[in-house]
Amino acid sequence: MSATTTDHGHDDHHHNPNFIQKYIFSTDHKTIGIQYGIVSLLFIALAFYLMMVMRWSIAYPHEPLPEWMSWVFSEEWRGRWLQDGKVTGETYNMFGAMHGTIMVFLGVVPLGFAAFGNYVMPLQIGAPDMAFPKLNMMSFWLYFVGGAIMVGSFFLESGAAKSGWTNYPPLAQIADAKFVNQWFTGQTQWLLGMVFLISSSLLGSVNFIVTLVNLRAPGMTWFRMPFFCWAMLVVAFLLLLAFPPLEVAAIMQLVDRFTGSSFFMPTGLYTSASGALDVAGGGSPLLYQHLFWFLGHPEVYVLLLPAIACVAEIIPVNTRKPLWGYRSMVWGVMVLGFLSFIVWAHHMYLTGMGPMVSSFFQVTTVLISVPSVILLTSMIISLWGGSIRFNQPMMWAAAFLPMFGIGGLTGLPLAFNLADIHLHDTYYVIGHFHYVVAPGILFGLFAGIYHWYPKATGRHMSNILGHLHFWPSLVFINLVFFPMLIQGMAGFHRRWYNGGDAYLEKSVDGTNVFGQTVAEFIDLNVLMSTSVWCLAAAQVPFIINFFTSFFIGKKVENDNPYDATTLEWNTPTPPGHGNFVTEPEVYRGPYEYSRPDYNEDYYPQWVAPKVEITEEEVVTVKSERTAH
């Protein structure tokens, strides 16, 4: 009996699926992509809220949290997590750790890789679905469970994890250790959640690679794949090979928590709360850091590449020009993926690694900027001489380029171990990677949302609301992050929950020089925090736009509203099950815009050449044209 079900397992989607099969436990890559997208946007909103609370604490450490933020808390929670209404250091740490975790692992990666990858990639290569649809569904639900575990931990007695998004031991292991029931502590739940998320992305990445290798449509050779698919391939490999070491680290830390072992606990550890710890000792906190950053650095590119990929798709469509240097971008992204595995220790310059190791990682870190610059430069050159259509996606994509540029360039001083000694763990680091992630990656992903929304829903998003979203976001996001670079160079530490207030030197002629520096730059906190509230307000038009356009947006005129060339625009709008009406066949590269030998300014991949034209004929046609 079981054999019969497996026998027909693959084609049960011929039956008419009911509501739950169609929208909840769907095996269709498009539905799963949209599920990922919506859930991850919700997680991003949650993490944004956590950050607003933190920014309040930084700018106004002595003032109670205002009602418009604290209404989320239940009365009991306010008693537990706020002190006289003020954010406590513990609460700040908890929110900080969870802001990072949720943004990275539950927000941006699922949005960029899982949502866009799932929705767009099979369409672009002309596949009917992902190679393993059920596995695809399972990865979404594993992600969902992992996310639920993470968020659920807020409601525990111990609160959620509070040792930074990196969860460094021994701090992370001592935190919450006082609770008898280790299962229900935030730190443990964080690790469990991570194990789920890692399993989810492992399944996802296997699925992506198999799909890209085996399900490409006839004629879709490797170098006819859009850059987006190449980026997804590299990201999938990064996830596949870099995540297991973090899984190892998470499992080892779980073992430490549950059995009292000392993988990451050095000999002779002493805390003021419990004296000499009753553990065997002999472990190494650095082992955790190595395992974490072995994932951690590739993870940066897992975040980044989908955004670059979205922008790289949007630019050729809206400049009506081929993507400049497509091949060098493809090689660049592969080199980038490769190098990202051997740069991890640049996050650890201050752990006291020997100079030999430091120098090695300094060299590889500087090297990795080369492929990044190739990608960025190619996209900037692609703009050159194009007649740019500044529609919504293109505005976001255009803003991505300089924003990501700032993010990348501010990273260079951090690559050098000497400069890093000063800048490590300051707001400069925060400013740097947030420039990459927020105005960079998120802008790229917003561009993607605006770009593919018409394909997914059949309706355009509102242009006016788009402008209301874009311009304030661009202004305020810079007002949030640029002052961080200044504060960081002045020495503001990233983990001050009161924004430096404790170090402030109030008298003008005091001897505390650092306190005077703090006094000079502490007022920037208010500017940044105010900008954050404005930035939050600027997202309201997007939320309205996102949900209302589904019902009242302008309907798309045809299946290819942008006159684009890649295969996803050859599907019905929205694409049905199985994606394509006729089996797609691919005849040319992905970015054939403004070809001189073709009478329209775009030549889609799927359009069969009318007659076989030999190269000689092309030459004659050209010469005839010039003759006339």
Binding site: D11, V210, S261, K506
Partner: protein, 563 residues
Amino acid sequence: MNEKILDEIPYIVTPRKDTGLTNSKIGIWLFLASEVMLFGGLFSGYIFLRVYADYPWPERVLPIVPGLLNTFILILSSVTVVFAWAMLKLRKWNMFLLFMGTTIACAAIFMAFKVVEYKAKFSHQGVRLEDYTILEGHVHKGAVDSQGHIYHLDDNGNPAKHHADENHSKSEKGGAEGKMVYQKTSIDQIVFDTKDISFDLKMFNDGYVNDLLTQAESLRAQITFDKDIKYTTSPDSLPIVVAKAGEPVTLKALKEAKALWKKTIANNGAVRTEELRRQWRVAKHDNPDAPNWQNAQNIKMDMDAIRPNLVASKSVVTAKVEPHVAFLLDPKTTNASAKSAKRKDSTLMSGNLIDSSMELGIDGVDFTFLVQRAEEKGIDPESAIEKSWILKNNPQVRAYWEKHKEYIAELDKKLLDDADGDIIKAEKAHHLERYKMTWKEMVRYGSEGETDLQWFNGFAGPNHKKEEWAKHFPDVSLPREQIAFESKFTPRWNNYYAIYFTITGLHGLHIIGGAIVLGYYMFCPNMFRKNPDWLANRVEVAGLFWHFVDLVWIFLFPILYLM
């Protein structure tokens, strides 16, 4: 299968032409690639921890026989799984069942051996003394009565009088032996004669509270609240009484008190927040241009104004034990001093700490850590060993050690002879032989060479229960202040065992998972009839996973058992 439907996933059974691969084949190899990274991470963690270790890394401490048998079993299963696949290709269903069944049986035997090995370690006690001597052994079982006297168990499992406690029991017990109330336990617990207990409402743990209540019940004592437990949750409401003084402590009452206490916290928090907000409004109104940090200096809450709105919120509930009896507390989760003991859930017990030594039957003495520490300090290792607590206080261990030194001297001499008297060429006894007595050596020394241990004796480690040779293991009573660190041979004992359990545990999970998938195919005769190639593909793919699991073990065995 031949009709072309547009939304059907291609290349499930037949490989794609240009790549030459089916989907599942690529998928499983990718999955295995990530498994390489998973076990690679664990192995590099192992090497890291071993290289980094600031204590003597335990070498070759696991019994080899179970590991060796398990290696054979896994290799056999690897052969049978590939045979099973070949039988599907030859379309022989029954032979397939036979070979696949063998594979599953191998997996079951493998896991059974694992259980035996794990069990032996979970009951084996390790103790590190303050002078870094490491003792291995088994904790004796016994009984502790309500006064805290320790009794050994006689052959019927009843408490027999403890030699050290004879004087006490005579004076206090008199002829009341028959009515004695006691708890059976392993003799390694903290014995604490408790008069008062205070529970922390924020932290108390259900299991811990229940443990105390059941212990009290079995010792015929009662834990009662010594004050009324009442809370006023807001200034204008009436106090709610959870329990009156003298009522017995129950978990339910504590939980109710906790809920009310949380409400008092919430009330006070809200009142204070409101006052602080008011102060800030005033400050900003008076000083609109001052920076935030300047205003903060002038903020002071008007406590007199808000005091009427605050309610008492005490998080500690006190109770009495009547009559006072000796509780047994787990040393790992209790921080005990002479007059008080604090459990991990912040329950504070006050009374008297009673002698809480650990009774151990020793089956291994290891001075390597002591020697390492001595060498770090520039002390002669031999004299450091002579001064160790165990040699000074236990004549039997001392006698064994003398014999061990003789044995090592003989060994050194033999090695010198093997090198034809060339001191430079001659090797010396390895430091792990020199400074360590294993249980087999102790049996040899104890029985004067009479007992000859066979290879199967102590299959998974020393056994204290039935074996005739167990009588040679010396008994020792370790005072608690001599114990620096104690643990069963679990991951807690040291990082070698931690990584051993982690890697083999994960490997075991892979075995179970693989066996379930492979076993499932034995129940697919219909698929065999309809599409045998598809089934063969699936078995091949699952077989690839199975071989990988075998491959991991091939490395695990030498690394964990032989190095």
